[in-house]
């Protein structure tokens, strides 16, 4: 491999002590960045430098660093998870940038996701939505034999692609209304097509939508910014299904047709 030039970047990063304090952008120049670094490794590199200089590093969330845990959550140059399609922040590499670039790094911004510190936000609202209905009520021990519930392959594949949601919240961050409809629609879609999800099909969508509203997420105005940034490319059509499921449940709110 040829010796590659190292980049120097100007970083503008959100600094906020805690949920109560006001935040501001802080500028740092950082050199010695390889194109093979991941974006988060570039931030690690900055944080190590700040630590050596006796300064305070930036707080950001990450864990698996392979795009599946949903911890990482940065708005990079105005785009949730940064440039490129179908990836979380941790899967963004510095080869997407060039020497001399200015990069603006901010947290998810939504009333339902209060800032914890710097770039880390509290997304427990998503857990509360799942807790309200994002499950099949089946106690351990009462499950029938697996193959007694056949699921046509195309249905299983559809359910799977909805179930791949990593709960990162980029959909909310990208939406001007901070709507959580894509997140809710992914779970509702998964269960509404599967035989296992039928018993609670109506109460599930009612309860999840009600909780979503309690959490101060906004409404959907059909701009599809959510799908555009979704690391798992959950299709916007899922929101159509969510609306349909919701309306259906309003017409006959009991589990009986």
């Amino acid at each position: 491999m040829s010796a590659q030039a190292l980049m120097t970047l100007k970083l503008r990063i959100w600094r906020q002590k805690d949920a109560q304090s006001a935040g501001r952008m802080e500028e740092h120049e950082l050199s010695g960045i390889s194109e093979h670094m991941s974006f988060l490794e570039m931030l690690d590199f900055l944080n190590e430098k700040l630590t050596r200089e006796g300064k305070i590093p930036f707080n950001f969330e990450s864990d698996c660093r392979e795009g599946i845990c949903g911890s990482c959550s940065l708005v990079i140059n105005g785009i949730a998870h940064g440039p490129g399609k179908a990836k979380a922040t941790c899967q963004l590499h510095m080869r997407s940038f060039k020497n001399g670039d200015t990069i603006c790094i901010e947290p998810w911004r939504a009333a339902a996701f209060p800032v914890i510190k710097d770039l880390a936000v509290d997304r427990s609202a998503f857990d509360r939505i799942i807790s309200a209905g994002g499950y099949v009520s089946v106690n351990v021990g009462s499950a029938p034999e697996g193959n007694s519930i056949p699921v046509p392959k195309n249905v299983a594949d559809y359910a799977f692609s909805s179930a791949t949601c990593i709960g990162c919240g980029a959909c909310v961050a990208a939406c001007k209304n901070a709507s959580a409809m894509l997140f809710v629609s992914a779970k509702v879609s998964q269960f509404s097509v599967l035989p296992q999800g039928q018993a609670e099909r109506k109460s599930r969508v009612q309860n999840m939508v009600a909780q979503m509203e309690r959490e101060q997420f906004g409404a959907c105005t059909n701009e599809a910014e959510c799908s555009a940034v979704c690391p798992k490319e959950i299709p916007f059509e899922n929101i159509v299904r969510l609306n349909r499921e919701f309306i259906r449940s309003n017409f006959s709110p009991s589990e009986f047709e």
Partner: protein
Amino acid sequence: MLNLDSKCPTGDIETRWTRHKFNMKLVNPANRRKHSIIIVGTGLAGASAAASLAELGYHVKSFCYHGSPRRAHSIAAQGGINAAKNYKNDGDSIHRLFYDTVKGGDFRSRESNVHRLAEVSVNIIDQCVAQGVPFAREYGGLLDNRSFGGTQVSRTFYARGQTGQQLLLGAYSSMMRQVGLGQIDLFTRREMMDLVVIDGQARGIITRNVVTGEIERHSADAVLLATGGCSNVYYLSTNAINCNVSAAYRCFKRGAGFANPAFMQIHPTCIPVSGDYQSKLTLMSESLRNDGRVWVPKQPNDRRLATQIPEAERDYFLERRYPSFGNLVPRDVASRNAKMVCDEGRGVGPTKEAVCLDFADAIKRMGQEKIAEKYGNLFEMYQRITGENPYEVPMRIFPAPHYTMGGLWVDYNLMTTIPGLFAIGEANFSDHGANRLGASALMQGLADGYFVVPYTLANYIASTSIKPVSPQVGEFSDCASDVQKRIDKLFAVKGPKPTTDFHRRLGRMMWNDVGMSRTKDGTQKVIGSIGKLRQEFWSELRVPGDAHNANTSLEHAARVADFLEFAEIVALDANARDESCGGHFREEFQTPENEARRDDEKFSHVAVFEYQGENKPVIRNQEELKFEYVKPSQRSYK
């Protein structure tokens, strides 16, 4: 001396678990709500245990350091989960899964535990299907299976390359349902800092709220540790960057035996290291070895690109050396062989520390579309990280630390040597011996949480006198003040170096001397080096900020402080075990064909380390292993 009575039932192995279940005591449904259970960790083991215990009616307190239980590292498991369903009609059975697992573990696991695991494997699939986990299906709507390393049957259930995610979301949803019902109190963003032992029983934990910095006390009737593995002792591993040994190590320091710390799994198919700044390694699922062929050039120092090396000049070394298992040999065997060919100078890529995983033949045979359907997300992941297209050029892969077979010692009831402290999932040691087979970690995590610990915990509660305890008593105060002192001590060093400096250096030492291949000398010397590094840590560390709000630097420093002590025990175990078995390969002990040579006379035992106090040497205890059903033999995958 630790009491290492395994409490395994005797007699016919097929009825041991059934008989044991009947002999265990039960807790009356009306009494269950009076008992509170702390569960630390919300991965497959922790979430499944929390859900099933809450469903039974216990009052569960669940803790994780993540912002949400769904972010636990089980989420990243790719390939699949084994179960002895025999849906493929290819000769699978509970006994075969049991046999494969004991043999795959190189005869260093307990037969009773492994048989139970194989038995409940079939219930796990049923449970997950009922939860709505979208497993891969055949066109007829029934469940699909694929093969994994170390077996000759197809028993692996999967959800594309995201099986761990789907199983975890299943367990998480069951758990969140119980949170909604008020059966589980969920404490996120809490790091377990210590275990509180009162009158010899585990009665609570001290946590740090990682947002406010508050040191908190939580009491319960029993504590379940589901805190995963500790491959991050190598710094670079496939684990999430926050995975750590601290919770388990703190329990060790409070009297829990730590078993087989040297049994580390180095996974053969990971994306190779590309630079010093690297923060973690990414696994490429073992399922890729179903269709990918592993090779290196026949000649050392071949500088050509992989696609320019003609067929006749390639060495498909796994197919050549192991004709019957080929590319599907167990992980330890595949990893060691990759290292061997790289040591001969036949590695590929810029660092020469990689081998090719080639899909050209599979694409020719099945077409690119079929390959994309099976492995599409893995191929994308590879391309994103390396900038190379694996549909066109062979992947480059190299082994990386992945899983710890060792862990807290537990008896058949999954209880540690501290009464009331249970360890489940990767945090315990019990089922995988010296090497874990692919798709068995998910199986074990869910087996422990859904189907084992709900019974054995009830037995403990029903048969033990557990007095009420307030978190204000002296033991809690002492423990909380120990925690505070440790935190203060980290800040007080005020040196010039960030924690990562030390973690990286520790990782390099461990990888070089206690990694894929070990020697008596190397493991001896590294113990001294670790000690020196530890001294340097405590004189040159800098932890920026303070302890009164979110401070990830502090969290990392506290974990690395524990890794720096734990690493020494790993090296001690590797040094003492004068044999090669599974993932533990001591260069002095190999057959003329470079295969691992066990010493069943001297080492057919579990090594269990016991803490004796600051500046006192740890004691190595032994639990002898008996094999009545799978006769130990030299493993052969030829």
